[in-house]
């Protein structure tokens, strides 16, 4: 190496770059005196909402954002207070969080892990977000959860259904209110056995990624326990749009039930294709052919239109719960009322889980008396609450997963409008969908210890 090219200008540039590099860790831990990352300064606190604002899940992201905005409004004392009126914990009083006015920044996950990490990182490092929430995919949730763990902020997961989020990829700083694949299987299986009989042959089409595998495994093991036989399980590429080549051989296999372990656009297309093939009009093995969609998304179901009629699936929550099943699901109507009044239509389950997660975080901070992530983790672990629309709920300390009732729904025969696509068939009680923390579908990985960053 030669130093002959070293100029005065070059030396200044190099020094400036080195100086900036050395200063960076100090900047990242600007709040080190408080002992944790992004300790709120002044009279405001910033939350980061990381939702898909572009890409195929943009509409779901928009609904999540609406819910977050509503939650912030309620936390700051605006509107009618929504679920704060029904929440069993009375720590929140509409004066922000610990007296600090809640502000928020948003990021666009694009439903891509790298983009989601980048937007979360930017919200943490540039905007000083002390908590990240939202998202519409398990891949994104797992990626952002790991990032939040490293950064020392709390991650309140949005819509993520794969077992791994609170299974092998669980983290101490991450919490999931939404239900998971295992719970869908456990909730659906008895109802499937009841509605369609115990002697059934199932054919699975499974989206070829993490969520698809865990959902297939959960539904298979739960239905096989009831006597169903799985005749075939075929993985379909995530980018597939026309499923005809996968659906055409279903009837030849002798199956009389088709399970579509697909979500979002995949679900809309595979279900539409299956209905086009007239599968539901066929009689196989002397029984009417049936289709099952383990995870319903009412927003995406709109895309499938009339094709969802009579199709069974599961949901984390439904806006009709309290009206139809009574005060056990209190909080539902309060939320629907404030959401509906503000936006003109009922909220989706994605909106519900995001709203609840924000409230739960704010409540945990208030009870803990600190924004310190480790104090928040302690306040949320083992926290039992009610009045948030799902009935009595536990945030289990072992894996940071919420345990609550699961809603089994069916596509409505005669929907009155585009928001009224499913009817509630039954609610499976929480104890029937609860599993041991070391259950094989959740094996591997550990929470580790909380990271306060800084």
């Amino acid at each position: 190496m030669s130093f002959s090219n070293l100029t005065r200008r070059g030396l200044i540039k190099t020094s400036a770059a080195a100086g900036a590099g050395l200063a960076l860790p100090t900047y990242l831990s600007a709040a080190s005196h408080a002992g944790y990352t992004n300790a709120p300064q002044g009279d405001t606190v910033t939350l980061g909402f990381n939702v898909p604002q572009s890409g195929p899940y943009a509409d779901e992201g928009a609904d999540e954002l609406r819910a977050f905005e509503l939650a912030v409004e309620h936390l700051n004392g605006g509107g009618d207070g929504g679920m704060m009126q029904t929440f069993s914990s009375k720590a929140l009083n509409g004066t922000g969080i610990l007296g600090k006015k809640v502000e928020y920044v948003t990021g666009d996950t694009q439903t891509k892990s790298d983009a989601a990490r980048a937007s979360a990182k930017s919200m943490i490092e540039k905007d000083g977000a002390v908590m990240i929430s939202g998202g519409s995919s398990s891949g994104v949730a797992v990626a952002v959860q790991a990032l939040c763990q490293e950064a020392g902020v709390i991650f309140m997961a949005g819509l993520t259904h794969a077992n791994d989020t609170t299974g092998k990829d669980k983290r101490a700083n991450g919490f999931r209110h939404f239900f998971n694949s295992y719970m869908s299987g456990a909730a659906l299986a008895p109802i499937l056995a009841n509605e369609y009989g115990k002697d059934r042959k199932a054919y699975h089409l499974t989206a070829d990624y993490n969520w698809g595998y865990t959902t297939e495994e959960a539904v298979r093991s739960s239905t096989e326990a009831f006597g169903w036989e799985t005749v075939n399980a075929v993985k379909t590429p995530l980018t597939q749009t026309d499923f005809s080549a996968y659906i055409a051989p279903v009837l030849q296999s002798g199956a009389d039930v088709l399970v579509l372990n697909h979500y979002g656009g995949n679900m809309v297309n595979s279900l539409t294709n299956a209905v086009q093939f007239g599968l539901r009009d066929k009689m196989v093995n002397g029984k009417k052919f049936e289709i099952v969609v383990p995870l319903y998304s009412e927003l995406m179901a709109r895309g499938a239109g009339a094709n969802i009629k009579g199709i069974l699936g599961s949901q984390n929550w439904d806006w009709k719960l309290e009206d139809q099943l009574g005060s056990r699901y209190s909080g539902t109507n309060a939320f629907v009322q404030s959401f509906g009044t503000k936006y003109g239509f009922p909220p989706s389950q994605a909106a519900h889980t995001c709203y609840v997660q924000t409230m739960l975080y704010a409540d945990a901070v208030t009870r803990a008396g600190s924004f310190n992530p480790c104090a928040v983790v302690e306040a949320l672990e083992g926290f039992e609450f009610d009045g948030m629309g799902n009935g009595p709920t536990l945030y289990r300390a072992d894996d940071h997963q919420c345990f609550k009732d699961v809603v089994v729904v069916k596509g409505k025969e005669n929907p009155e409008n585009e928001y009224d696509l499913v009817e509630i068939v039954e609610v499976t009680p929480a104890d029937q969908v609860t599993y041991a923390p070391d259950h094989e579908q959740f094996a591997g990985g550990s929470l580790g210890s909380c990271n306060a960053g800084a």
Binding site: P56, S244, P249
Partner: protein
């Protein structure tokens, strides 16, 4: 045997969509020499023509129904389509039911106009630029068109059903003496296949049997000489761009009931269509059609679970694998002409 027949049928159907899009692409490439990455977007806009036409037919005014309550307990607002008032409820519903086939009448002029504006407004300025520039500008245009559609229609797919009479599927198995239900195929997909065959036939007939077509073919072979004969070939090529846009648009219109249209459906088809064009031979219309059907059938076979068990993941790479093999053995594609893209 029945499984093989079923996948051939399915491949023919899938191939007809590829063939239609690739045909339009090849028309544009063969005439104007432009590699049009916005072609998938034209297919998508075609599908949204069906969506728009359905929305126009169901254009409604709102009445308050005091007897029913909405989800907030307020009197329910009910949308009544204007068409019910113009032609009565029964006829109105029948027209709405047939919205997709009827929207062909709406899509043709719209697509030709879009094609015309695209060509005159933007692409014309890139004729003399390198192919890389053309690809960049048309790809950029595709993204812009996508975002425009997303702005107006949202990101969610929009259900656009076929007429009720085409619901369900036809049992070929029973007809051919196999067990019932072994070879079934949806009626609408059969309609799509027939429709594609008619459009492809019409385009070939137009080029083969009309004077206009003859001039265009001559222009494709030797643009300069045709120009020297005093024929305004540019004008004809602009019209061909409009026709190519209409072909892609019609493929999209009829595809709307198969998969609910969304803003990125064009991109899903674009890459495949390019592979089809390359495999068929750049600039060769029969090649595009042949390769469309060939790749459609191969893709169908690769998705069979027996084959997937044998070679996992083959369904995701088969098309590209075949493309590589064909390009290695026949560098100009199946029916490629000498001199195209070789200067």
């Amino acid at each position: 045997m029945d499984a093989i027949l079923l996948q051939i049928l399915n491949g023919l159907d899938k191939g007809s969509a590829y063939a239609l899009i690739a045909l339009g692409l090849t028309l544009i490439f063969g005439t104007l020499g432009v590699v049009n990455f916005a072609h998938g977007a034209l297919f998508m806009i075609g599908a949204f023509c069906a969506v728009t036409f359905s929305k126009l037919l169901t254009l409604s005014h709102t009445i308050i129904d005091d007897t029913r309550k909405d989800f907030l307990g307020n009197p329910m607002k009910v949308d009544v389509p204007y068409i019910h008032e113009f032609v009565g409820q029964t006829t109105g519903d029948a027209i709405i039911d047939w919205a997709v086939p009827l929207s062909i009448l709406f899509a043709v002029p719209v697509m030709i106009a879009i094609g015309f504006i695209m060509e005159r407004g933007l692409i014309k300025h890139f004729y003399k630029r390198p192919h890389a520039d053309q690809i960049l500008v048309t790809f950029g245009l595709a993204i812009v068109l996508q975002e425009v559609i997303k702005f107006f229609y949202g990101a969610n797919p929009i259900p656009t059903p076929a007429p009720a009479v085409f619901a369900g599927s036809f049992d070929f198995g029973a007809m051919l003496g196999f067990d019932p239900n072994t070879i079934i195929y949806p009626y609408w997909r059969l309609v799509y296949f027939g429709f594609a065959a008619v459009i492809i036939g019409a385009v070939f007939a137009f080029l083969q049997f009309t004077t206009f077509g003859m001039v265009v073919r001559a222009g494709m072979a030797d643009r300069e000489t045709v120009g020297l004969l005093g024929i305004n070939i540019d004008k004809r090529f602009t019209i061909m761009f409009g026709i190519a846009a209409a072909v892609a648009g019609l493929a999209g219109v009829m595809y709307a009931p198969i998969n609910s249209p969304n803003y990125h459906m064009g991109m899903d088809f674009l890459v495949l269509s390019f592979v089809v064009v390359v495999v068929g031979g750049m600039g060769s219309l029969p090649g595009a059609v042949l390769a469309g059907f060939l790749l459609g059938i191969l893709e169908s076979f690769a998705s069979m679970s027996a084959i997937l068990e044998l070679i996992p993941g083959i369904n995701q790479i088969i098309i590209y694998l075949v493309a590589i093999i064909i390009l290695l053995t026949r560098p100009r594609g199946l029916m490629g002409r000498k001199g195209v893209m070789e200067e």
